[in-house]
């Protein structure tokens, strides 16, 4: 008997190790863009993590059909019923919002917003909760049906949120969104400059984006009469990106700044 128990235990451990290994490999493949291959693994597995994998792979495997999106929605709805503190549940809720926001042929922005908002309320500091704050800001700020006054009020409400948000990536991205919004809708160059500085402080990761933000801070500082700040950021661009195509224009704008007293 003890031998049989040991055998069952070994088999069960081996099988769970195999499953974990397979899931790990499947996520690895999905991360590398091989979602079709990952999907084949996910559908042979059971359990919440495999179901999350199945649902997500249904979002992009070809052909992209409503039936696939419906199946993903079903799986995610089931997973979202798990406790709100559970990471799989948070991911499921986030991706339910994403389906409404980005994946359906006919987007449902109010529907997406409602799911994001509920997730933010339940798990504001979680990975997916922070992500949701960034996404919902885009829905709010670029709502074509809202009046211009309402759009401006939403922008103003989000300024303190961007400052306070704990997650650094979300703070960076929300600050950039607000800065661009300030420029697109002409809410004020000073406001945009402050937000770009906030974003830069949170840390830009891609080199093209880094070069862009240095130029933009330099330009906005010059236009809003802050020559010392403009000089600092222009110089940083020139020092860090010796082959940037904008160098000559930056050098000319740098030379045009009033000299420091």
């Amino acid at each position: 008997m003890p031998h049989l128990v040991r055998l069952i235990l070994c088999l069960s451990l081996a099988s769970s190790a195999y499953a974990t290994d397979t899931l790990g490999q499947a996520w690895q493949e999905a991360a590398a863009g091989l979602v079709g291959d990952a999907h084949k693994y996910f559908i042979t597995q059971s359990g919440p993590e495999a179901e999350l994998g199945q649902a997500l792979s249904f979002l992009v495997i070809q052909p992209k059909t409503n039936a696939n999106l419906d199946r993903a929605t079903e799986l995610l709805t089931e997973l979202s019923k798990r406790p709100v503190t559970d990471e799989i549940s948070q991911a499921a809720r986030y991706y339910l919002a994403r389906i409404a926001h980005m994946h359906r042929q006919r987007v449902d922005l109010p529907g997406a917003k409602a799911i994001y908002d509920a997730l933010i309320a339940d798990a504001p500091d979680s990975f997916y909760g922070s992500l949701a704050q960034v996404k919902v800001a885009m829905i709010d700020l670029y709502d074509p049906k809202a009046s211009n006054q309402e759009l401006r009020a939403r922008f103003d409400r989000l300024i303190p949120v961007a400052k306070a948000i704990a997650d650094k990536s979300a703070r960076r991205d929300l600050s950039i969104i607000l800065a661009d919004t300030a420029l697109y809708f002409e809410y004020g160059d000073d406001q945009a400059l402050a937000l770009l500085l906030q974003a830069n402080q949170a840390g830009i990761t891609q080199s093209a984006a880094q070069a862009d933000i240095l130029v933009r801070i330099g330009e906005l500082a010059r236009l809003t009469g802050k020559p010392a700040l403009a000089r600092e950021y222009y110089q940083r661009l020139l020092d860090t990106f010796p082959r940037d195509r904008r160098r000559l224009m930056v050098m000319e704008n740098l030379a045009s700044l009033p000299t420091a007293k």
Binding site: G24, W27, Q28, A30, A31, A32, G33, L34, V35, A38, E49, L52, G53, L56, S57, L59, V60, A91, Y95, R98, M102, H103, F127, L131, V134, K135, M138, I139, L141, Y142, D143, P144, S169, R172, D173, I176, I177, D180, L183, Y184, G203, T205, Q206, S207, A208, A209, D212, V215, R216, E219, L220, L223, R243, R245, R246, R247, L248, M249, V250, M251
Partner: protein, 531 residues
Amino acid sequence: MKASSIFNGIGLTILALSFVWAAQRSLRLSSEKQDDSLVTIRFAHWQLEGGIRDAFDEIARDYEKLHPGVHIEQVAVPERIYNQWVTTQLVGGTVTDLVEISNGKGATDEVLARHFIPLSKLAEEPNPYNAGTSLEGVALRDTFIDGLTGEGSYRSNLLEYYGIPLSAFTVRMYYNRTLWRSVVGDVPPPTDYDEFIKLCARIRAINEKTGRTILPIAGSKSNSPVLMENLFGSVTQRLNQSLDTLHNLNPVPLDIGIEFLRKNWDLDTPAIRLGYEISREAGLNFQPGYIQLGRDDAVFYFVQSKALMITTGSWDSSSFRQLANFEIGVFDLPLPDRDNPKYGPYVLGAAAEGAATGLNFGVPLYSKNLDQTLDFLRYLGSYPVNSKFSRISGWLPSVVGVVPDEKIAPFAPRELGYIPGFSPTAIGPDTSRIISNANNLLVSPNGSVQELLDEIRDELPGTVRSDLVRTQTGSVKSISRQDVTLAAMQRMTTPSPQKIDQMLESQNQRELVHAWTAFQLERTAARSSSR
């Protein structure tokens, strides 16, 4: 009857000889393969231009001397079948150890993810073959003039480096020096736009007077737009900067399309009108009906001394020198400068050419000698070898600090310059199509700018809109894929916080542009339908 027997005999003899030749070649190849002590590295590319294969051959022999026991083979595949060839070899697991992956050929994101090795680790390490040069100890990534930011090197969707570029490219005006001397005498090439236009007028006048039929510029649907877009882009430089809503000094075609919908420019904006005027001035110097002709026709006109000049890239330099039996000269595209009395007020100045790199090589997963292959790739991308490659091939170098040889010096990219302007064709294929369809109204002697503008005016708002919608569709696809990649990165056994952060930043940037474009598409549609 007797004759047919003779022909049959000849046929059978040829067949037998072919069989013997094929059999001995096959035996020789298999005996080579059986030599286990010999490591063979094969690399495939589609560059059949003159000089390239010679350069690769010489570099391969150098590497073999440096690494006895290693044999390097290049496989040159015609460009026309390159994509299919690479796909077949990848699927069959018989692909070469290195594969050219430039210009999207042989390498979509999915192909790269499935079949190629990410080179991100290699990119961060110094290249040992740069020892003793100014690049010693510098991360490989920073030893290339574009910092490996080109599409053939870094894939933003996959957040990985996949290719190493061996060359850079620029566009210039080539001219037939021999013909030039015989037609216009010992006159130096034009240094500005007005001199260029006067030169073209002079050639046409000589043709009329003497009955000669020398074309000022060889045109085709691929060569001519390069010159005309550059001319157009020079007179819209200031307009372009006025549309720089985000203050990054570099508006992109999407911004231009949106600003059109927002009515911040239109066909009556002075710079746009002047863009068509300058295009017409240049267009009158191509052969009639050039837009129907392919690149090879234009090359034929040039190398047969039927045209004095041709606009094309540095990649044609070595081929032209081999094909043409005359002396070739090269000068910068003759764009107007700030002093030009007509166009000057709209111009900023000569555009920065940045660094468009190419001839990128990637490493397939199935390379049997991975370490040796990576070593050979580092060798190819090193300062001394890139210098040699450039000298022999006549192509521009891609490595920082390598000085181009005298004969390719005129192609050296202008690093310091202004951001070019735009032409409406940049907005997208639908807009480009209606302008191209009406091109004849612009460049025929009896045509005019007004006729072209009248022809495209009504259609333009619709095509700008459809081009933006198409961009939105592509962007949704990328954003959707990133959703899944992001979740997968999060759940991997050993997640990389840095990559997750990069993915978030990239997706949110795309999504922001998408939201702004969707907003403008809807708001401007409502505005025009309420009128």
